[in-house]
């Protein structure tokens, strides 16, 4: 029993943290709100050079051949910096999906993902919109039990506004054809279920990072802000808000790490472990967001202070790939309605 990360895993985390601290400060996130692409100029290439985009691409295809346990801390860091680049979609969902599908589509796209040359958008059955579809070189879309690979020219996009100004989301209209189908039937459904679980887990990891940063910002603010002649962080009302948020956060962080292992080894408990992580992380991040707003007071209710960008990312990710309630209901099906397939009930 060794429930912890290796030195290499912590080192990779630190490298990504350093890169994002330099290349993706909150000013860069604010800038991404204003641009058409929602991207931070040059960041995608740097992430590619670091290897994070190809982290889960098999070594034979030019990637690092890592798994979810290696990736989770990196996704947490991308959340901590509210990084607008779709690391979670590409490294968390698309690359493992393509590797499982195999064949020509994998041969063609995995090396390009690993090289940081391809952006991939993913639309699974439960997703209302597809993020970053306009900038994508490839779209992976689910249709029932089938998965399809489409070129940007094969779909019609309608841009939608997002509460998170750094997100570029679209209604995608498309027609599945035998030529675009890359997996179907039982196999297609199983790959789609795993992709969904990876999406939920990757959202949980980012939520843990976002919530950690919101909490850190709030603690720093509470130490420095003086009212009634003392730092507001010395008042018990403020302390207890922050202590409650911290408690919930730590009891979401560990399950998110735990679910990484279940995904990496595709354990029978995978669906239950992912739902546990996503439900707890969604609720914890929501509490941290509310706590951050309350402990900062009016300043966090403005665009003058960066916290609002973190809060809005939380509002999106807590709902993405199933909100807390959805995941509790799925867990209830697994816990109370035997027999249910243990790798997750269909939506």
């Amino acid at each position: 029993m060794e429930f912890g990360f290796s030195e290499d895993q912590r080192l990779f985390q630190q490298t990504v943290a350093d890169l994002l601290a330099n290349e993706c400060p909150h000013e860069a996130v604010a800038e991404a709100w204003k641009t058409e692409s929602g991207q931070v100029p040059g960041l995608w290439e740097k992430l590619g050079e670091l290897g994070i985009l190809g982290a889960t691409v098999p070594e034979a295809s030019g990637g690092l051949g890592l798994d979810e346990v290696d990736l989770v801390l990196l996704l947490e860091e991308s959340g901590r910096r509210a990084c607008p680049e779709p690391i979670a979609t590409v490294a968390g969902i698309a690359a493992p999906l393509l590797a499982e599908v195999g064949g020509d589509v994998a041969t063609q796209w995995l090396p390009r993902i690993a090289a940081g040359e391809a952006r991939v958008a993913v639309g699974l059955a439960g997703d209302r919109y597809v993020a970053d579809a306009a900038a994508a070189d490839l779209l992976l879309l689910q249709h029932g039990d089938e998965l399809h690979a489409l070129a940007p020219g094969d779909v019609r996009l309608e841009a939608k506004p997002s509460v998170d100004g750094a997100r570029r989301i679209y209604d995608v209209t498309w027609t599945p054809t035998p030529a675009s189908c890359i997996a179907a039937g039982t196999e297609g459904a199983a790959i789609a279920r795993r992709a969904f679980d990876r999406g939920a887990w990757a959202a949980a990891a980012q939520l843990v990072g976002l919530a950690s940063e919101l909490l850190d910002m709030s603690v720093e603010y509470a130490k420095g802000r003086v009212q009634f002649g003392q730092p507001i962080g010395a008042f018990q009302a403020v302390k207890h808000h922050l202590a409650n948020a911290k408690t919930r956060l730590e009891f979401a962080r560990v399950p998110t790490y735990y679910a990484s292992n279940s995904l990496a080894h595709d354990l029978p408990s995978r669906a239950l472990d992912v739902s546990t992580a996503k439900a707890l992380a969604s609720d914890a991040a929501h509490l941290c967001f509310r706590t951050a707003l309350q402990c900062h007071g009016a300043i966090a209710y403005t665009y003058e202070y960066p916290a609002h960008m973190w809060m809005k990312r939380v509002l999106v990710l807590e709902r993405l790939h199933g909100d807390a309630s959805w995941h509790r209901q799925r867990a209830a099906r697994l816990l109370l309605d035997a027999p249910v397939p243990s790798d997750g009930a269909t939506r």
Partner: protein, 379 residues
């Protein structure tokens, strides 16, 4: 990351399971009742004689030298098999570890095996009528006499005081001292002269509490634990582990969540989507505590000190315990009112309502999290 148990650990689990399934008594009356207490003690004797009472203690004191991980496994199996609350818990989880750390060899060899077997029952002597959360304001005191000390004052909310033989606690030995200084940790015989114990019925109706009056009770020098005047530091070592994994192990809550799951499956007809979500939420929170236990165990093995993080755990399970019981009572509907026998949900609910109060209230725990983990200013 490797979340497998070793073959030896699996074998340990299997051995514990086999013993517990064959031996755990069922249908015992409440622990804190005159009829129930002796039966619970008998069970403690059985556990000890088979080597299962204190698996993590050294063999010379009746343990198996087990690691923290094996202790967590044992606890999972104990509560999975429906084992009753431990009658010896103050002795085995609080005093025992403190004795192992601060006790003299003479004290250890004289006391530990009796603690573990339940041959001597121990209770805590911390709270006083005027000193609850603010324990350092205590006013009980001891006077130096030939060969030892005479104790004076009143202790209260003494869990299982009515049934106990001895008490451990703090008395002020330096009359000129303030707060945390000048206190001494004493081991007191409750059956001796100058001690009076008055039972107090707790919220669940049992005589689980007592107040204890000391009027010149004699404690020989050999029953001072640690240095005279350094009692606060010894006591903090006693209250440290109780806040984290050891006094309320994860296994207790995973077993409780499984019981709730079984109840929800039985009562499918009253289990709407909202109720199903509540059951799933509690199951997840119990599972999260199990995972945090494993995470913490690895960190301790790697040489880290989780320290004040035990407060995060106590905050988590204090509320989880209550929430699981409230959902169970809602599932029982009208029958909740009568579920008062030992082991039933209303009885367990009333018992669990003490969690946010004892061992440092939830407010004290939040202060600890805020100040020692988040680094917020005390004043």
């Amino acid at each position: 990351m490797d979340l497998h148990y070793t073959k030896d650990q699996d074998a340990f689990r299997a051995e514990a399971r086999a013993f517990l399934e064959a031996n755990v008594p069922s249908g015992l009356p409440p622990l804190d009742s005159p009829e129930g207490f002796p039966l619970h003690l008998e069970w403690e004797h059985t556990l000890f004689d088979a080597g299962w009472a204190v698996v993590d203690w050294p063999e010379e004191y009746g343990g198996r030298n087990c690691s923290l991980l094996e202790w967590l496994i044992f606890e999972e199996e104990y509560y999975r098999a429906g084992g009753p609350q431990r009658a010896t818990q103050n002795g085995i989880f609080l005093l025992g570890p403190t004795l192992l750390h601060f006790g003299t060899d003479e004290q250890k060899s004289r006391l530990l095996r009796k603690i573990a077997r339940g041959d001597e029952l121990w209770c805590q002597g911390w709270s006083e009528p005027g000193a609850g959360s603010d324990l350092a304001s205590l006013t009980s005191y001891a006077e130096r006499v030939e060969g030892g000390w005479k104790l004076y004052g009143q202790k209260t909310w003494t869990t299982r005081g009515t049934f106990s033989d001895k008490s451990f606690g703090l008395w002020r030995t330096d009359p000129d001292s303030q707060r945390h200084k000048g206190l001494t940790y004493f081991l007191v015989d409750l059956h001796g002269e100058g001690v009076q114990v008055r039972p107090i019925h707790k919220l669940d109706g049992d005589e689980g509490f007592a107040e204890v009056f000391y009027d010149g009770a004699f404690v020989p020098d050999r029953d001072v634990l640690g240095e005279v005047g350094r009692g606060w530091y010894v006591a903090m070592a006693t209250t440290g582990p109780e806040r984290g994994l050891t006094l309320r192990s994860p296994g207790r809550f995973t077993a409780m969540a499984e019981r709730l799951r079984a109840l929800a499956r039985e009562r499918r007809d009253v289990c709407d989507e909202g109720m199903r979500e509540r059951v799933a939420r509690h199951w997840m929170e119990a599972e999260a505590y199990r995972q945090v236990g494993l995470w913490t165990e690895t960190r301790i093995r790697r040489g880290e000190d989780p320290g004040a993080e035990s407060s995060l755990m106590k905050l988590h399970w204090s509320e989880l315990d209550i929430a699981i019981h409230e959902t169970a009572l809602d599932l029982l509907g009208g029958e909740a009112e009568t579920a008062v026998a030992n082991g039933e949900w209303m009885k367990g609910y009333l018992f669990g309502l003490a969690n946010p109060i004892w061992g440092g209230t939830s407010e004290i725990q939040r202060n600890i999290v805020a100040e020692r983990i988040l680094g917020l200013p005390r004043k």
